[in-house]
Symmetry: C2
Subunit: 461 residues, 2 copies
């Protein structure tokens, strides 16, 4: 090989590759809050064949490749590498098919989640995956990180929405498994390897997603509970009374709810009185009347038992949006706080209240002006905590905060990442949640599929 | 190493290993109908440590190991190898924990499915996995084959019930990932490798299963439809009207229904008149009254529209059992027919009627006395066909029948195995459902994890 990688990429990809300072800033970093990195090159392929060509070239030159989607990841997984190639799927944004008989949708990796949701709805069906970054995040990123979100309690993580995948391996091999059948046990279920491995084993280029029957108009309710144990009782009775109609159970601690509603003038507080814990419950059953009736039943018995002190059932779409706006204001942290240390830990549900309180207290013990906000998908045992020390300015003690928080999680046998993944940020701590045997097996699989270690190098492990 | 494998196994496992003619016949074969094989040794460990010790010895001697569960598999996956070691999990049959707060159950691989179901129910919860062989099959086999069954339409395949696994690798390494959290994205989701890979990558020793809220008393209905297109209309309206309360939609073609009810005197026909297609619908919603009401609504509109000609709603548990007995009589084929060729193909639901008719017709075209019985989990696009040629006696033309049936399936882009797996029987045909790139990737993973090719050697590929 006499040519350089720059020449090889330019020759093969023409207008689809740019270099150095021609690379727009949005490809320098994701939402994890680390410092941006200018890679050697940015490739934005228009086809699976161009992804494969890029991988063949980078593999030959042993140059690392960082796959990129909507750049909304919170673990640094899509942050490029100096001297490496960033490969963005954002131009592969076609919806190839919606099959209403099989209830499936075939999409390219660069389709924004909200675009896929809308296409499913236009066909009279429903995509169960949903998360706050829906307008920016891309399906390929959702799948490679096994994204969670607001409806896991009902429809599962991203993994459970996938029937088929097309993947490009590090050596450029295209593995097309665009299965559309709900049941298929013919050989290894290869797609499972690529879902949730954060782009370290292959680049997802297309996917077949499973669609659901379209639920009736969803109903939401917002409740104030006296404390966390009461909130757990509310969760139990919601599960029992609503069954699979319980589509969201999103908890906000006062730390989070007060800070966001005080900081963002567009947010409206639902109650005048303060409460010990807040929760958004969503009902997605067979029909709209039933959905409201179910919530009313759950709320009236919870109010009577004292598990809920105050509740709102919105009477318009606008009111519903207002209630959800507080929960979805998480993308505005940065504006309010500057640099932060954010967590998406998981732990046994019954311990979540105690642990969140303990973390918040330990934070202000250590740093008197610390801000620690807690919220989460508590129905799925997933707790989010966001920390910021105003007096530390741009120089947040990320490492010390991380060790403090992970200490409480490890003590409860929890996970350091329930949904965002490991990426770069949590890599040093993976051993807190996984055994040496598990780590060795991951390394063995990585080595078998990416012997040159070029795909999303430096991430996960 | 001066000793033989026999000496090494005897020294390490004592009473847990037997050799040659001391091996009981039930370990010589599974339910696939192939000829039995007497292995060199049978190990029945009592602990994960004994499984690991067995693997270390067999790996050192490079002797193949065939993992065995309840021996109810229909693809030959648990059939031992001459000169190899059969490793049965049937003594590791403890239920270690039912956690009612997290709604999980930790079980050893040798627990029969019905025992696990009962333990969940005793704790006020529900295990969503169910199949006809429930009293004989073991959880380890259910998971390693990614078993399907009757409730996939509502609760998913075996894979979707698994939160954590403990696995012994071919070299004896124990990988313990007994996660209990619904969401955990800390590193690769290793359990996915072992679920559905039919014991070729590791031996499942323990599992954490996800439990569900216990449904109210299920309601069933049995319908006769004029033809398959009407039955598809019934499926559509059942999905729309029942949503997630639709827990089974089990179809029986007249070929199957007539043959079984005529052949087995204990089975009762529900109708005097014959129909074009039969279906069992099950409703598993929030309460018993609602379940019956839902079925009644679906049936009355379907009767009115002419999609259903005749329907029974059983009024007692005994009547319900009688209706299901026909569908569950599949374990009695052998007695009625002798050797048979059975299929668990998958194909687009809309094509299932046409394809089943075409297969039955082609069978009798080729062999005038052919018996071809069709039934299946049509809601999941899974079709079962069972074939027997009486005039061929013990010498069934398995290969020719298989090629005939798979020809129709491949033409529709279907799968040669929707749920039973590939095992030994379907190995020659895997290329009909998977591409060369997929097969190469499977081989790469197999090689990385089992470089000596000792684990379930000869199965899948």
């Amino acid at each position: 090989m006499t040519e350089t990688i720059v020449d090889a990429l330019r020759a093969e990809l023409g207008a689809e590759v740019v270099f150095g300072n021609d690379i727009p800033a949005r490809y320098h970093n994701d939402w994890a809050g680390m410092s941006p990195v200018l890679p050697l090159a940015l490739v934005r392929p228009r086809s699976t064949q161009q992804v494969a060509a890029t991988m063949r070239i980078c593999n030959a030159f042993k140059v690392p490749v960082t796959p990129q989607g909507g750049m909304t990841g919170l673990a640094g997984g899509a942050r490029p590498i100096k001297g490496g190639v960033a490969l963005s799927l954002d131009r592969m944004n076609g919806i190839e098919e919606v099959d209403t008989v099989m209830a499936t949708m075939t999409v390219q990796a660069g389709v924004p989640l909200s675009t896929a949701q809308k296409a499913a709805e236009d066909a009279g069906l429903f995509l169960g995956l949903d998360l706050g970054a829906r307008d920016s995040c891309l399906i390929g990123g959702n799948l490679s990180t096994n994204a969670g979100g607001n409806r896991v309690i009902r429809y599962g993580m991203a993994r459970e929405h996938v029937l088929g995948l097309e993947v490009v391996l590090p050596d450029g091999t295209v593995v097309t498994s665009l299965n559309k059948m709900l049941k298929n046990n013919a050989g290894y279920d290869l797609k499972q390897l690529f879902i949730g491995s954060e782009g370290t084993l292959g680049i997802i280029t297309r996917a077949v997603l499973r669609l659901q029957a379209r639920p009736a108009m969803l109903a939401s309710a917002f409740c104030g509970c006296p404390d966390f144990p009461s909130l757990l009782e509310l969760l139990k009775s919601a599960r029992q009374q609503m069954g699979s109609a319980l589509t969201s159970f999103e908890v906000m601690w006062p730390s989070f709810y007060d800070f966001m509603t005080q900081g963002l003038p567009n947010l409206r507080r639902a109650f005048n009185e303060p409460h010990g814990a807040y929760v958004l419950i969503e009902s997605g059953g067979r029909d709209a009347t039933e959905n409201e009736a179910l919530l009313q039943d759950v709320l009236s018995s919870a109010l009577e038992a004292g598990f809920v002190t105050d509740a709102v059932l919105p009477s318009s779409e606008r009111e519903t949006r207002d209630l959800w706006a507080v929960r979805e204001s998480v993308s505005e942290y940065g504006k309010l706080m500057g640099p932060l240390t954010a967590f998406d830990v998981g732990l046994p549900t019954s311990a979540a209240g105690k642990v969140a309180d303990a973390i918040e207290a330990a934070m202000t013990d250590r740093w008197p002006d610390a801000i620690a906000l807690s919220y989460g998908h508590i129905g799925d045992s997933n707790l989010h905590v966001v920390c910021h020390i105003p007096s530390a300015g741009q120089d947040q003690p990320h490492k010390e905060i991380t060790e403090l928080v992970f200490g409480f999680i490890a003590a409860e046998g929890g996970t350091i990442s329930a949904e965002h993944g490991i990426g770069l940020l949590k890599k040093p701590y993976l051993g807190l949640s996984r055994t040496p045997e598990e780590l060795a097996l991951m390394a063995r699989i990585k080595h078998a599929i990416d012997p040159n270690f070029i795909l999303n190098t430096g991430k996960v492990f």
